[in-house]
């Protein structure tokens, strides 16, 4: 049983600005639960001009009470109130030549209980061929297209008619109660301890219905957090438009101070309680 959520959207900003905002999206006023972001590998292939980045995020979250009813806190490593932390692994590939960025984020822990994979594709709507054709419509348009993004101290993202399409999906898959990592366990003779197994506290549930319940909880949460993730990106893009990279970095600094100082930005009040963002 797999649950799936998908949406299509559009940012009224040029593709390069959106890719940059993706790298700079934490911290933002809607992401006060993101504790840290580290780049663990990055590779640029000059031939294909693709940039591959792998990052590790640490997020604070509150487990939904529905999950706590199904799986005891002790097993999930959460505090009495359900507070927990989770690592998210994010992979992204920017293909500047073809005007698209593909990203994939997933949880690193408790993948047996619930694996959540979030994918996003940011796509420059116009094909390269169309763009080339447009150049003949006048140099003015071409200059605008190529000069739309600059990040000197006074630089701003200029208003152009460019926008970026976004396709998002979240795939949720619970393996709870299954022996889903047989191979690894075979190598490891003490296996069963870390295996999310069907144990006494939910023996009365059928494996399938338990998995379905957990996937449903994850799906609801994904639906609720998607708008916040999008708002966060918008804040970063807006700062970029207003004051370029300098404004983005200054905004990040303020957001980080607010998080460290325990005074989350006013925006964060809009987050629904128990929410977990992407």
């Amino acid at each position: 049983m797999v649950k799936f959520y998908a949406s299509t959207d559009n940012y009224p900003y040029p593709f390069p600005a959106v890719t940059l905002a993706y790298f700079l999206r934490y911290p933002n006023p809607y992401s006060t639960h993101v504790v840290s972001t580290d780049t663990i590998s990055r590779h640029y292939d000059p031939e294909t001009q693709k940039l591959t980045t792998i990052r590790l995020h640490l997020k604070r979250s509150k487990l939904p009470s529905a999950v706590l009813r199904l799986v005891p806190r002790s097993i999930l490593g959460a505090s009495a109130s359900g507070d927990t932390q989770s690592f998210i692994l994010e992979k992204s590939i920017v293909d500047i030549k073809n005007g698209r960025m593909d990203t994939e984020s997933q949880n690193l822990e408790w993948r047996g209980v619930l694996s959540v994979v979030e994918r996003q594709s940011f796509i420059r709507p116009m094909s390269a061929a169309q763009e080339d054709a447009k150049i003949f419509q006048g140099m003015e348009g071409a200059a605008r297209r190529h000069g739309f993004l600059s990040f000197g101290p006074d630089a701003k993202v200029e208003d152009t008619c460019e926008s970026t399409d976004v396709h998002s999906s979240v795939t949720l898959h619970s393996h709870i109660g299954e022996k889903w990592k047989k191979k690894r366990n075979a190598e490891d003779s003490t296996d069963d301890d870390e295996q999310p197994q069907k144990m006494g506290f939910f023996k009365s549930w059928s494996t399938a219905s338990l998995q379905r319940s957990i996937e449903m909880i994850g799906l609801k949460r994904a639906r609720r957090s998607q708008p916040n993730a999008k708002e966060g990106m918008k804040v970063v893009l807006e700062r970029m438009r207003e004051g370029g990279l300098v404004a983005v970095l200054e905004g990040m600094r303020r957001d980080r101070e607010a998080i460290l100082g325990g005074h989350p930005h006013a925006f964060s009040n809009r987050r629904p309680p128990n929410d977990d963002d992407e």
Partner: protein
Amino acid sequence: MSASLAPECNDVKERYDNCFLKWYSESDPHEYLRGSATTDDCEKLFKQYEQCLTKVLKDKGIDKMLNEAREDNKDNDAEHMHPVSCFPIFLDHPDLS
């Protein structure tokens, strides 16, 4: 800038992040975003950052989790990180309809 998981790596992370942002977005020559970059100029700083972070990931046992996730994902990547032309989502792309 976002914080590092390891406070002791914050300084070197910030130096690397700044370098990367400059490389990625610099207006002139605006290389990467124009598709004419020849190299990632920040490799040296990344090595320092990586050195700091690797130790922390190891100490906290995160490296093991990362390796497992990467193993699990090898097949997924082939399936999902592929080029434009065969991406099913494009079926509803205005240019192709």
